[in-house]
Symmetry: C2
Subunit: 150 residues, 2 copies
Amino acid sequence: MLLSKACVYGLRSSLFLASHEGDGYISIREMSEKLDISFHFLTKILQQLTSAGLMESHKGPKGGVRLTKSGSEVSLFEIVAAIDGTELFTECALGLPGCGVKKPCPLHDKWADTRDGIRLMLEGTNLVELAKKGKKENLRITEDGGFEWI
Amino acid sequence: MLLSKACVYGLRSSLFLASHEGDGYISIREMSEKLDISFHFLTKILQQLTSAGLMESHKGPKGGVRLTKSGSEVSLFEIVAAIDGTELFTECALGLPGCGVKKPCPLHDKWADTRDGIRLMLEGTNLVELAKKGKKENLRITEDGGFEWI
DNA sequence: AAGTTTTAAGAGTATTTTATCTTAATTTAA
DNA sequence: TTAAATTAAGATAAAATACTCTTAAAACTT
Ligand code: SF4
Ligand code: SF4
């Protein structure tokens, strides 16, 4: 799998938050139920996004998390980088350490292009754009398709 | 990581075999030492490639493995598919099941293009091509760069 | 035929990832 | 000021991946 489970959950909930922009803090419990993700696991993932500065959290009743920046300013790349790190975009298709520094592997030229393709796609896509599209075309962000865009 | 460790090891040893085409069976022990991969682990990986029909093996002294087809006919995609499967090229960036069948996720269009980019790169690259390039430019396929092309 | 070399196969171990559980700290509201 | 709601944090558990060990089977050499 290209992205870890944690990362995929991070993307899904970021999308959720982008579609609720301006609604204040959204509780993690609510998100975990609507998106069908384990509450405790999601909490940990969102803590990562919070400490990366992408979200801010608030405790107590009426608490929850919300995006710090406007969703249109947050690219998928930032979320992936915060959870899975940027190794995917700097390291080797053959798993060799120190790409570009020591002598490269035979696959380098082709892989570097492919790798950049992934990065550019993630950098060039923002949360609001996706949430709008999802809402307009009634696309899904849960396994059972049960989630309804507001 | 895009490809599993097993898959990367499979690619490295396939590259090794391609550069030894016509030398008959190459022992797994020799490969594991030259490529610095655990012998038993490599054995299992090569068993997968053998049962997928990409390699054939022979027991006893003078035994080992060799490519069934000419290395120029084997694409990286075949090796990846035999070890990691083709999920990467059919499934969802958001980890949702049944892509294309049920309603898609908002990322689908962009992700499908990116995904195809990875597949086309792997399909469009064959073993001999890479081995030749590696030999000519003295590129590496081991971590320490210690491997020498023959 | 016996001994050696080599892959095959399955069991076993270690590490990482994924997920859960428990307790604490903070904030709101009655 | 007390109770309820909520995130924070750390410990634990389960599952998946990565790796190792042991024994068996096959094939070559003498
Ligand atoms: S140079 Fe080769 S080894 Fe390094 S990252 Fe690129 S493909 Fe991988
Ligand atoms: S349609 Fe959406 S859910 Fe399905 S594979 Fe494509 S990106 Fe993933």
